[in-house]
């Protein structure tokens, strides 16, 4: 980092930092609201509507949600799906993306077109359900792990990242007697940590938010992930009676607002902690050394 900076550069830096801080504050408000709300009383939330700091602290909401068996169980389910699912995703995505980034491979264009086509057209929910059913995955965690093993979107961007690796790498490795598999595992993967970190995050967040597939594929409620519970509580607390199309619905006393907030906090915090942990890999990308412009 240079010691001397021009005035223009300094003004640029401070304006830049100020704008970013303002933006960060604006975006973080809803989460602060959720945290504050989770400790507040129903009375205060009803009267003020919006608070950033409760005047009267209470732990009732947390006591309640941890007294149910559902919360901890579904959190564990989600953690399991997220960890195992992300490993599966990253492995298969990288494995497929690398050959497609190699210019010397035949058929890579048709294969890519096959992949892109699936981003635009899909057979829909029901035929996919039937495939999952025929493979015997219904009511097993596999149904949440395998049908989304590779995201076409991530695959294409991953391939783009691999393409930016310097050409000379492979030649050098081949001379050293490595086959393509060896090049991939020993050279390409270690050099691609920023990309792997990024896509781990994308996939992990995707698994963390698993909701509709779980409702569709899992009949056993002890295997539900956290989002199923979260959504139910949030919608009920926001005034949904469950099914608004049903005229004769029995009204259900909605969960308190603070319970809703507490569930939001508990279900969000763990995945938020993943990002700072992965961030250090982003900086390592500098080691890549070369980039093709």
């Amino acid at each position: 980092m240079p010691l001397k900076q021009s005035w223009g550069s300094r003004i640029f830096d401070s304006v830049n930092a100020t704008l970013l801080i303002i933006f960060a504050v604006l975006t973080v408000i809803p989460f602060i609201y959720a945290i504050a709300g989770s400790f507040a009383t129903q009375k205060e939330l009803l009267e003020k509507g919006f608070i950033l700091f409760p005047t009267e602290f209470t732990l009732d909401a947390y006591k309640y949600i941890f007294s149910t068996q559902t919360l901890v169980r579904s959190l564990l389910v989600t953690v399991y799906i997220t960890v195992v699912g992300t490993l599966i995703n990253i492995f298969f995505t990288c494995l497929m993306a690398y050959p497609l980034a190699r210019k010397d491979m035949d058929f890579r264009k048709p294969i890519l077109m096959l992949v892109v086509f699936t981003m635009l057209f899909s057979g829909g929910m029901i035929p996919t359900f039937l495939v999952v059913k025929q493979l015997g995955m219904i009511d097993t965690y596999w149904s949440l792990l395998i049908p989304g093993a590779i995201s076409a979107f991530n695959l294409i961007i991953m391939r783009n990242f691999f393409q930016q690796l310097p050409d000379g790498l492979e030649e050098a490795a081949k001379i050293d007697g490595c086959n393509d598999l060896g090049i991939f595992f020993r050279i390409v993967l270690p050099l691609s940590m920023p990309a792997i970190a990024t896509f781990s995050l994308f996939y992990a967040v995707g698994h963390w938010n698993t909701f509709f597939n779980a409702v569709l594929y899992i009949n056993d409620n002890t295997k539900w992930p956290i989002q199923v519970l979260l959504r139910q509580i949030v919608i009920l607390a926001s005034g949904g009676i469950g099914d608004s199309t049903v005229m004769e619905a029995d009204y259900v006393a909605p969960p308190e607002q603070s319970v809703k907030m507490a569930v939001i906090v508990v279900s969000t915090l763990p995945i938020l902690l993943v990002y700072p942990f992965l961030q250090k890999h982003f900086a390592k990308g500098v080691l890549l050394g070369s980039v093709k412009g």
Binding site: T68, F212, G240, T245, A253
Partner: protein, 500 residues
């Protein structure tokens, strides 16, 4: 480009060969396995039910175990969160992978009607009379659930007319007012609530009627429409069915609401309030009109803000045609039995026998309150709930199993006892929807779009962004987009019935 496409085709073809080579060993039809179980041992009954709670009834619940013992059935329940129930059911129906029985919350939804018409479900109507409890089912409600005159399921009973006023009694007392008995008095009370500082805090911060959009319907609108002499959805006039929004009473109700809006007697943001009850909870409104069963919940919630709050229930508001109230459909969803998973008539009868047993008095009460000595105790005849979360979780969503509810003992609070009494009183003055048993194909296909036209125009009129001429234009649009066909089809059904 062309070359790439050809190559793509080649890759596809090559791989589909690989696929078919692997796919040869198809699994034998393992689904359902119902037939084998029908004769041997107890009935194995799989079912799908909505759950309205964050926690579900555990599979080893003592209540469930007792239910199994008493009905001689092995139950396996798959719970689905209420907020996604329709999506899941729709997908399950479409995939044909249904359990042996499930609850259809909205039996007239097009996917249910279409599936029923193609013969997907057992017609249970003719069987009902051979069961002691099921034979007591109401003809009126059976007519309401029928599809083309056939009964495809067992309905879950609810009181026929549950709507009424939930009013802040403490506000009435503060202002020295009597409970309203007519529409005019109702207006006067609401006005006083909005202007007379009923909460005695010295500020103009209250409104009369809390209004929200309950599933696209303006809260209370249909009820006030009936109080003002209007019909319940459809009016039968000189043998012809006319939709509610084409009657004079509808226009009067629109004007009534507009007046309330203009004079700031209802919350000005009602068009974006999803659940009007939230306005009540804040202690800012004096009246809520809906299912009176909710009165206790509303009172409990207001008490968190205003400990002196007291809710009273009213059911008789008289208008040009005397005391009237809106009848509901008398059921909340129905159990249906698909032919894809229940293959024999014998098994069907076993399942109906299960439903019959569930309607026995002691099981009705058990599914409502749990087991005496576990989920609750009776001390000198008064009901005491067990507060242990583990024990009370065992009865979670138990009422989802219930069919008939006619012999449930009411252990409720004063307010709940009162609501039961008023439900009975309501049934003597209830106005039914004459078109409830009929199905219009156009409505099934386009009903949602059509009702949106009217619902939007209603809100716009009340908020003053549309005048009477524009309202009429919306009705015209409704007619042209399929409404006139709906009227035609409904009347044809009605004529068919009249002939019989």
């Amino acid at each position: 480009m062309k070359k790439t496409l050809v190559k793509t085709g080649a890759v596809l073809a090559a791989l589909s060969l690989v696929m078919t080579a692997c796919g040869g060993k198809d699994q034998p039809e393992g689904q359902g396995s119902g037939n084998a179980g029908a004769n041997a041992g107890p009935l194995q009954l799989t079912m799908m039910l909505p759950t309205y709670n964050p926690e579900q009834m555990p599979a080893d619940s003592s209540v469930l175990k007792t239910l199994e013992e008493k009905t001689g059935t092995k139950l396996s329940v798959s719970w689905v969160p209420s907020t996604t129930y329709t999506d899941k059911l729709s997908a399950t129906v479409a995939s044909g992978e249904l359990p042996k029985t499930f609850v259809a919350l909205e039996p007239k939804a097009s996917f249910i009607v279409n599936a029923a018409r193609t013969g997907m479900f057992w017609e249970v109507g003719p069987y009902l009379e051979s069961y002691p409890n099921l034979s007591k089912m109401s003809d009126l409600v059976l007519k309401n659930i029928s599809i083309d005159g056939k009964v495809y399921g067992v309905y879950r009973e609810r009181d026929l007319a549950r709507f009424g006023l939930m009013i802040r009694q403490d506000w009435l007392t503060n202002l020295g007012l009597e409970a309203p008995k007519t529409v005019d008095e109702l207006y006067a009370v609401l006005k006083a609530f909005a202007t007379g500082d009923p909460d005695k805090n010295g500020k103009q911060d209250t409104i009369g009627l809390a209004v929200g959009m309950q599933g696209n319907n303006i809260a209370g609108f249909k009820d006030i429409l009936v109080y003002m002499g209007g019909p319940n959805e459809w009016e039968l006039k000189d043998g012809k069915l006319v939709p509610a929004h084409m009657t004079e009473a509808y226009m009067n109700t629109l004007k009534f609401y507009k007046k309330l809006y203009d004079e700031k007697i209802i919350n000005q943001d009602f068009a974006i309030v999803q659940d009007g009850r939230s306005v009540m909870y804040k202690g800012q409104a004096g009246l809520w009109i809906d299912n009176m069963l909710d009165g206790k919940n509303i009172e409990d919630n207001i008490k968190k803000v205003d400990p002196n709050a007291k809710i009273n229930l009213l059911n008789r508001i008289s208008g040009p045609q005397g005391d009237r109230t809106r009848a509901g459909s008398g059921y909340l969803g129905m159990y249906m039995i698909p032919k894809t998973s229940v293959k024999t008539e014998e098994e069907l009868k076993q399942i109906l026998a299960y439903f019959d047993k569930v309607s026995e008095k002691d099981i009705q009460n058990m599914m409502k309150y749990g087991i005496e000595g576990k989920q609750f105790t009776l001390e000198n005849g008064s009901y005491v709930k067990n507060q242990d979360p583990k024990v009370s979780a065992e009865i979670t969503d138990g009422n989802q199993f219930m069919i008939l509810q006619d012999q449930v003992v009411n252990y409720g609070t004063e307010l709940e006892q009162l609501s039961t009494k008023l439900f009975q009183d309501n049934s003597t003055i209830a106005v039914a929807n004459p078109a409830a048993p009929f199905i219009s194909n156009t409505e099934i296909e386009k009903g949602k779009e059509l009702s949106k036209i009217i619902a939007d125009a209603t809100v716009k009129f009340i908020m003053g962004s549309a005048n009477e001429a524009e309202w009429n234009k919306a009705v015209e649009k409704w007619l042209q987009s399929g409404g006139s066909k709906v009227i035609e089809e409904m009347n044809a059904e009605n004529a068919k019935l009249a002939e019989k």
